[in-house]
Symmetry: C2
Subunit: 258 residues, 2 copies
């Protein structure tokens, strides 16, 4: 007889060894049976990338209580697709991704492998939530993430999410008692200012390391994710899978007339 | 003395040897000075991926008339970032990406490296347009793409684009005389149904190839990109960099209350 408990699918982009994914498994374990398929190695900045030129492989890495963890050689989005196609016994009731080590607020949602997996779940009609903690420390404190994350999971399991909408949850750094609560908000406008650091290899060939810093273009706004986070609230941004700018449709129709 | 002609930046995800990028260069060459930075090799399905774990390199590959072509070891988005940071003499007036061999209509925008580069340009405040032809043939006929593409480029150079909005242009397959015109439309709802093809390697280890087909969830709708394309029109979809679902903000505020 199949389990009647919710089936919860877990993935991330920091790889199966990251502390964040183990905190996420602990977060969702009380709510149902947990199957994890996540990259063997770090896939930061992989966005919605899929692997089309080489094949991928997976294997069961660990299993305990109601949890199975598989490693996969592909990207976060590959992990979701492979799970749907070859690993999960049925469509999951919920997809969670993370807990990412580092922010995916504002425009970072575009680059994020964590959120790539979430958007993939959403495209497939599954309620999907990404979690990111504003702390790059491999041994970061995920206590607040787990505490508030469970509240959010409870809501999503009970009420679902609006059609073709998933959630981008970011958690401020710090211990539980410093976090003030949850704010549903919009994505702040901003940009990563990049500089490529030029270096020379031992044969004098030049190479470039990507480096940069985030610039918030809306420092005055109080309804953004960046504002919530800087005021020690979790930010919850509903993300659409339809990227159409409906407001621009009419004005652009002039293009139709040659 | 610096040129007063527009500076046009060209990139793609099929690599600098693809026929599509050379057609794109021919398309935009009459409008200004052209600098191309694109991946050396194919980067299909790379979405908005950036390279953070290894450094990248680039070199000038070809130069003629008002055109320079650089190859880069990174992704399409890396190519844009590297160009801005290390190669271009100033901010470009226009970014174009493609012409992709294959459709990027509907939900494919999410996976597309072509559109990843376009969205990156848009995040940086540059009018940015991606072009994709519904023909995977390496020797595809880009005549209609170039003809209508020039009309679109003319519009964008003259009028600009709405703030934080870029264009996803898809071109139906076939000769110029079969293409009926341009339609500004919205992204159709759809999904890629994936199946992973399981194979065994010579040592009996299993591996999986990603394969799949697109399912249009809106076959009845007449205002979508898929509808325009199936009726032999170019589709032009304005794409937003803000992924927030504003319509969902209010209903989700219940999450704030624990």
């Amino acid at each position: 007889m199949e389990s009647k408990r919710p089936l919860i699918f877990v993935t991330n982009d920091d790889g199966i060894e990251a502390k964040g994914i183990h905190s996420l498994i602990e977060m969702v374990k009380p709510f149902g049976d947990v199957v994890t398929v996540a990259p063997f190695r770090v896939h930061s900045g992989k966005s919605h990338a899929i692997t089309v030129e080489i094949p991928i492989r997976y294997r069961l890495v660990r299993e305990w209580e109601n949890v199975k963890v598989y490693g996969c050689t592909g990207t976060p989005v590959d992990s979701v697709k492979l799970a749907f196609s070859a690993i999960l016994p049925r469509k999951p009731d919920l997809i969670v991704s993370g807990i990412n080590h580092g922010s995916n607020a504002s425009v970072s949602v575009v680059y994020s492998g964590t959120m790539g997996a979430v958007i993939e779940g959403c495209i497939n009609g599954i309620p999907s939530v990404g979690f990111s903690l504003l702390d790059f420390d491999p041994d970061a404190d995920f206590t607040a993430s787990v505490h508030y994350g469970q509240k959010i999971i409870q809501h999503v399991l009970e009420d679902g999410l609006p059609e073709t909408t998933c959630l981008n949850v970011n958690i401020p750094r710090g211990p539980l008692e410093q976090v003030k609560g949850i704010r549903v908000c919009r994505q702040a406008k901003g940009v990563w200012r990049e500089e490529f650091e030029r270096r020379l290899d031992p044969r004098k060939g030049e190479y470039f390391w990507l480096t940069g810093y985030f610039v918030n273009h809306e420092n005055g706004a109080t309804d953004t994710d960046e504002y919530a986070l800087s005021n020690k609230y979790l930010s919850v941004v509903p993300i659409k899978v339809d990227f159409t700018n409906y407001n621009a449709l009419e004005s652009l129709k002039r293009i139709q007339h040659g």
